[in-house]
């Protein structure tokens, strides 16, 4: 029982919640670039929110279903079609064996998520099914999905309870100018007052150099006190490095665990999905927020997701 990829799409990879516990030996956590959309796709099909699903980038694959299943597509609007008919997003959709899913034009955003009920049957590597493509770890053979790949399903379901309730009305709003909230530091002492003024008042543009490792921005240069070098230090997802050229780079899911450049601020967790959907040409404005507010927002979102998870959990899975 599997999914047959008649084409792989621009960059499709298997991601689960992420590979944690190994950053101290240099393993990037990988995981979804738009975690919220990814969580929602899973919850909609009755999976635990961190179950392995497909992250689809820029242009989507063509998939034929080997058996009946329930799927959900969230994230970027990539005009999905099921057997030629528009396939709704942000709701659970029953598919039948033999049906084909394809994607059309990317209308907004950058990454879509396709979750299938019961998850994907690829091996756990260091506790995770996430693909770290750069190091060929995990997912399906450690790489992006290609034409003719057959991905086995763990436990596909032909039906789920409460199908008509499995809809999410809260959608991402895609805008040209994105507001990204950040907490300043940890190397804030290495930047001048002027540098901070530039960072928080400037309008930055997402360059063409953006991928799962990070997002380079163009825009007004940020002033350092001295230089941009530090003793190699830990990086987290959302770290904003500013190298000698004064331009910010936002480190994302596949970022390395350590780096030698000054970090001016860190994107807050609930705003990371914004970067996961950012396209070259999008503008970014940084807004300062304190950690207490940031953590409140994060916890609020986690509670919301857990409520949805509980709402749609089938009787079989409810404990």
């Amino acid at each position: 029982m599997n999914l047959h990829f008649e084409s792989g799409g621009f960059l499709t990879s298997i991601q689960d919640g992420g590979r944690f516990g190994y950053q101290d030996i240099g393993i990037s956590p990988a995981g979804p670039m738009d975690r919220r959309a990814f969580n929602l796709a899973n919850i909609l099909v009755g999976n635990s929110m961190d179950e392995a699903a497909f992250e689809i980038t820029f242009s989507g694959p063509t998939i034929s279903f080997g058996c009946d299943n329930i799927i959900a597509i969230t994230g970027a609007e990539m005009t999905p079609y099921l057997d030629g008919e528009p396939c709704p997003m942000y709701e659970a959709v029953a598919v039948k064996a033999g049906q084909t899913l394809r994607f059309g034009k990317l209308e907004s955003g950058m990454r879509s998520y396709l979750a299938v009920s019961g998850g994907l049957d690829v091996p756990l590597v260091m506790g995770s099914r996430s693909t770290l493509i750069r190091n060929q770890i995990g997912g399906f053979e450690g790489r992006a999905i290609r034409k003719e790949d057959k991905i086995p399903l763990r436990s596909p379901k032909a039906s789920l309870k409460h199908m008509n309730r499995r809809v999410v009305l809260e959608r991402i709003l895609f805008a040209d100018t994105l507001e990204v909230r950040v907490i300043r530091g940890p190397q804030d002492s290495r930047f001048t007052e002027q540098g901070f003024r530039t960072f928080f008042s400037g309008l930055y543009t997402v360059s063409n150099e953006q991928d799962r490792m990070g997002c380079r921005l163009d825009g007004p240069k940020i002033e350092h006190v001295l230089d941009a070098n530090i003793i190699s230090d830990g990086i987290v997802t959302g770290s904003i490095q500013v190298s000698g050229n004064g331009l910010p780079i936002i480190m994302l899911s596949d970022r390395q665990s350590t780096g030698g450049y000054t970090k001016i601020a860190t994107v807050i967790s609930v705003d990371l999905p914004i970067l996961g959907q950012a396209k070259p040409g999008n503008r970014i404005r940084f807004i300062e927020i304190d950690i207490v507010k940031a953590q409140k927002l994060y916890i609020k979102e986690q509670k919301w997701l857990k409520r949805l998870e509980a709402k749609w959990r089938t009787e079989k899975e409810a404990r």
């Binding site: 030996i25 907490i183 940890p186 830990g234 987290v236 770290s239 950690i291 207490v292 953590q295």
Partner: protein, 249 residues
Amino acid sequence: MADSSGFEIQFHIVGDRAISVVLGDVISLEVNSRVRVLKQVIEGRHIEGITEMVPTYTNLIIHYKPEIIRYSKLMKLLGELTFGLKPKETVSEMVVEIPILYGGELQTDLEECATLQKVSVEELIRMHCGSLYYTYMLGFAPGHPYLARFENPFSFKRRECPRVKIPGGSVVVAEGLSNLIPFDQPCGWNIIGHTPVRIFDAYKQPPSLVNAGEWVKFVPITAEEYVEIKERVKNGTYECKSYPKESAR
């Protein structure tokens, strides 16, 4: 808050899910030992909500789940734990022996480095494997250690032009550092030799051959031994020797 050495330990907020504890501002064995000690002390406390910790040269990055423990509560606990932190002997430090083929068929910069160092190739090899190397941390790539020697640093720096690709298993050197390259990658350092063992293996526990706080002893092997060990690694029948440091040399 100062530890017994007088350095003011600093705490930095790194976004809403990590805290960085700064134990020093120079790369030194002493500072790095403080990082390791703190990591062990925190591990011993089993603080719920901490998901993992990443030691670097001078800092310890603590990743945590705010839904389990908030920033203010975690800071309070860390403050208590770091008070009066003394660098002390932790568990016995381990030495890992890594076989290395100096020269051989794969490309190396042995001769060029020997010339720069103004010694013979044999003397350079003796220099390289004559010292133990300390693992400050891992990073940059899976299993990639930052190894340093504390006596007779090499006189040559990195190469003018980095190479676009060097093979995994390369052992590279520059000044007081020698690193193990786990995968094919670009690199600007000088290749001194190659090791047939896997520096990183996703299917082993632990996946990394070398870990932070451990010492590496390079053991010269012949070209024949290189081939033999490579075969045994493939069959899963080769293990690098490791033992407590007191019994080394």
